[in-house]
Symmetry: C3
């Protein structure tokens, strides 16, 4: 199985699927191609959330503002999984989640002159993903194009600040419902009925429908993070926040 | 084969695909993940339209404003098909279409404490869909988590009112082209050249391109229902109607 | 393998997948269903770009403003591939690319009365695509519904005008990033550092990130055509052009 995650929209991912289908019979599975454009950190968050649900697979992830520069192409082995994508940190958070406490191995890809400078999804990453699948995830070192490396970009998702009277975190993503996902651990809400944000008090509820329709609420999302939402409405509008912005909870 | 239909956008459905791929080799097929959010009745209409095209399959459908409340999770057997989703009526119209006049069997799912209160697509419905596929659609009663029930929500799609001088129906959906799909049977247009809506007269044509480009028209859509459209334009704008609103045709 | 490309949005393509799954075990691959509506020429450009990446397959492509009129349904054999879709020129540019210099064979489909006049994707093209897959791409003439024909629509994508002091072309597509794809050959930029468009000078760069973030630029896209873009921004806004409009480069 090879999964595909990009910010490409359509039809570019189809070209990647064609390249893969020429090289392997592996099933191609779309993770999604509407990740926020040019935002590797947000995509890293979502991949860390989604990829651990999968059985062992090669995951080809391309959110790549630096395409055509000298940024490296990477393959990361993490547990029974391999990740393929640009060296901008995108792969690291999901790799650590997939490794589940074990170490990860990072390989740089020796790239022959690619057919284009603007579409490495087709010309670099999809072929490498197919090659990784064909050789087997536990035999990546047999691929002559892969060279183990310690030189690569880091990307640690932000850590929140927790104090006795509250916590300050960051919006890591807004989902399609408008639910605002923060980096604040859901445990912070244990035993609380309400929290204050910017002076206003919001109910802490187990799920959206425990608040009245249209009511802003705070809950623990399926990523086990604090989420700001509106029952059947859009949290990002009600709370007036966007990805990357700060969220301050007060108890 | 397991089909997936949600209002989740991305990347939540990918988590469901991962859960399914861990449990079964069944092919996963996306019906679509952009159903109108929190609108089970509109999704029910589309599923009734689409699912009967499929060979026997498990259909996992999640448009679920009540996630995390005490609403039940259901499995419905209908002919050679099974449907899995929340107990809010969503599954019933497609189930009746799939049963094609035969009865349907409804099972409540005994759900262990799910991993989250906000994402039962991943934590409840996808695993149950995989289990249904693995046990076989004709052996659902062997799944210990399924308990036959008669207690469940009903959802009947609206019925129109037909009189000698016209018919009054409802917009059940607007498709991506802007075509306005009503619940009025296409037979009502048999032998008619034109109909009046809100005092204006519109041609009845066999298909969009039988009207001039940009012209509002009335036709019979592929769902065998009366459809309000514009050739190469947007019917919902020209007719000024939205899902759930009333449409009155006069002969 | 059967690929699917339409301007249908959702959920209509799912009905096509169901029809196909009833008739064949072929893997269905989505090329994309958000092609610009009613714009066969733009879709033809993208299909010419994407389909040659695939191994031999049946490609079902439906962008079909003339559905329900007497326009023919076609099957085109091109090399090891077959294309299925409406006779409006859509299939020809990708067919020529797939034939790679060899001839193509065009068949008209003898269509029985279809179930609808508005959804031939489901009622005509998907079943024919499945039949083509089942009989084999090199044995299409065994399908009784296919009749070789020379009578069909042509669609040649526009040719640019090149002079000593510049070139005039056309915007053939705008991709999801806002990158403006023209029909001007990338070779025209060989050895140039900058070009003028409407009197303003823009840098010619190997890829987006070679310009400052937010800077308009000219590059050669992965389709080997001149592309107008903005690093991490939207080219169609910066250059103020849309599909079908004229672009004049001056050296």
């Amino acid at each position: 199985m090879i999964t595909l995650a990009t910010d490409f929209g359509q039809p570019y991912p189809a070209a990647m699927k064609g390249v893969i289908a020429r090289r392997t019979d592996a099933t191609a599975v779309d993770i999604g191609h509407e990740f926020r454009r040019q935002a590797p950190r947000e995509a890293a968050f979502w991949l860390r959330f989604v990829l651990p649900e999968f059985p062992p697979a090669v995951h080809c992830a391309v959110v790549d503002p630096g395409v055509g520069t000298d940024r490296q192409a990477l393959v990361v082995r993490a547990g029974d999984h391999a990740l393929v994508g640009p060296d901008n940190g995108l792969l690291l958070p999901p790799a650590r989640a997939l490794a589940d406490g074990d170490g990860i191995e990072v390989f740089a890809v020796r790239v022959e002159e690619p057919a284009s400078d603007t579409f490495h999804g087709r010309d670099v990453f999809a072929p490498v993903a197919a090659d990784c699948h064909e050789v087997g995830i536990d035999r990546l070192d047999r691929l002559p194009a892969l060279v183990r490396t310690r030189e690569h970009e880091q990307l640690r998702l932000p850590e929140p600040a927790v104090r006795s009277d509250g916590a300050t975190g960051e919006v890591v993503a807004v989902d399609g419902f408008g639910n605002v996902v923060t980096n604040l651990s859901g445990d912070l809400l244990d035993g609380r009925d309400a929290v204050r944000i910017d002076g206003d008090k919001y109910p802490v509820v187990p799920s959206y429908a425990h608040a009245e329709v249209g009511t802003p609420l705070v809950t623990v999302g399926s990523h086990e993070r604090v989420e700001l939402a509106v029952n059947q409405g859009r949290g990002e509008e009600a709370f007036g926040v966007a990805t990357g912005e700060t969220v301050r909870l007060r108890w």
